[in-house]
Point group: C2
Chain length 263, copies 2
Amino acid sequence: MRMKQLTYLSDDDQTEIVDAFDPPRKALAKSGLDRSQDHSSSVRFIQQGFAYRYICLPDGRQQITSLLVPGDSCDSLALAAPNTEHGICALTTVTFSEIKRPVLVSLVENNPRIAVALWRSFLLTEAMLYERIASLGQRSAKERLAHFLCEVFFRCRAVGLTSGLQCGLPLSQGDLGDTLGLSLVHTNRSLMALRADRLIKLEARLLTILDLSRLQETAHFNPKYLQLQPDAASAARPTPARLGSSHASNVMAFDHPHRGAHA
Amino acid sequence: MRMKQLTYLSDDDQTEIVDAFDPPRKALAKSGLDRSQDHSSSVRFIQQGFAYRYICLPDGRQQITSLLVPGDSCDSLALAAPNTEHGICALTTVTFSEIKRPVLVSLVENNPRIAVALWRSFLLTEAMLYERIASLGQRSAKERLAHFLCEVFFRCRAVGLTSGLQCGLPLSQGDLGDTLGLSLVHTNRSLMALRADRLIKLEARLLTILDLSRLQETAHFNPKYLQLQPDAASAARPTPARLGSSHASNVMAFDHPHRGAHA
DNA sequence: CGCCGTGTTGACTATTCTCAACCCAGGTGG
DNA sequence: CCACCTGGGTTGAGAATAGTCAACACGGCG
């Protein structure tokens, strides 16, 4: 999980975390990640698969606020303010675990390393939010798209879900638009522009970066904000994903999109 | 400070916090809030005045990512990731206090109420970031502006810096544009549109809301995300601002804009 | 076979940006 | 006292960016 790369928790620490979780559950693509009904105050962590967090405006427009990859928590907010829930929707089949708030609290209180790991994880989320705001406010459609693709790629690489310059990107162009604040059509055209520049390939939910440094340039992308550890950043070798299945470091570690239960 | 309204810290708790701060310092309008050189790892809290946090893109564009009002912390990020600093710039004369990281940590470890207050404060920041993303991604210029004005007003009211439907707004139209991802000119036109609708007045850095509920409607603004306490939300009576000067609940609690040290 | 969901493209419209004036108030220096 | 400068704010006109509507292509699936 994300904590891993951030602080090098010991194996004991990790076992401690894993044991504290409720048994993992699954959500189908396009379904919400519901919390189990009996405890409203819990935190969910993605173990496998991709999901997104979104906000709906009263008139139906929706904004995808973050992409959630394995290791991410869904519920930093809910910890203290259970009334401000956002929706979480699976993009692929998602395996996730829930941990009850009191359990997490005692974990944090008894193991300062875990506390730091959790803290850093939330700060990373915040850093990504700031960067997204800069993107939405200042970057053009093409830059925004390039920036998002860079971010996805680096995040995937940090959790061992890349192979060379390829990673999975289980978003339709409509989803991409909702993420970037663009219309579907304009998203398509920006994508075509990046392809025409020979910067990326994107087909069948598989992103291939043809020229990473030029892509970063056009995006004005600086990975510093992702706070990657030096070795997690290089990641030529697949990072051993430890939590959940121990052989999850496959690029297309998610099921191919097909008609699931509709949102 | 913000902690106050969020968790009703006891007076003892507050004294404990106040005592832990370094002596307050001042920054002039348009100057950065520099940390004192001797300890890079510290957290700054705004006591009086307004400031903003911003990100600069390499080509000079700048995005204001958040407005900081009295009680806000400048440095949630720096706590764990000192390399991802953002700039903080004063909009008015600002009084702020710094607290060294180890001091804050021991405060948090020894007083769980303070820990919760700090935690909630950071989560509130996060909630505002999500909402800003929804604004930038989905709302039109006019809606965005209306939404921002609503947010500012509610936040000011929560810290007792309103009088009726008035509050200070020490941003130039250029600053507003950098906040909302709009050009100066278009910001001006959106502002004129809101004025033409008789929703607001804005002159000499004083915002007057002429019709709050209609302004909220046009912004699709729902204050829920601000997690206001019921009584802080009503706030017909001025909230006694306790930290810093005890009589700070004046609407125009900041100096009028004039040429300060330039950025 | 026909019906999705998804991607692609064209044509037109709307929103937003840029450039360029101009105004006004306050401050500064003669 | 006035001339001048500077930093806002306001407005117009034209250009660029992005959105909408509509059509069509393609593959998977019933």
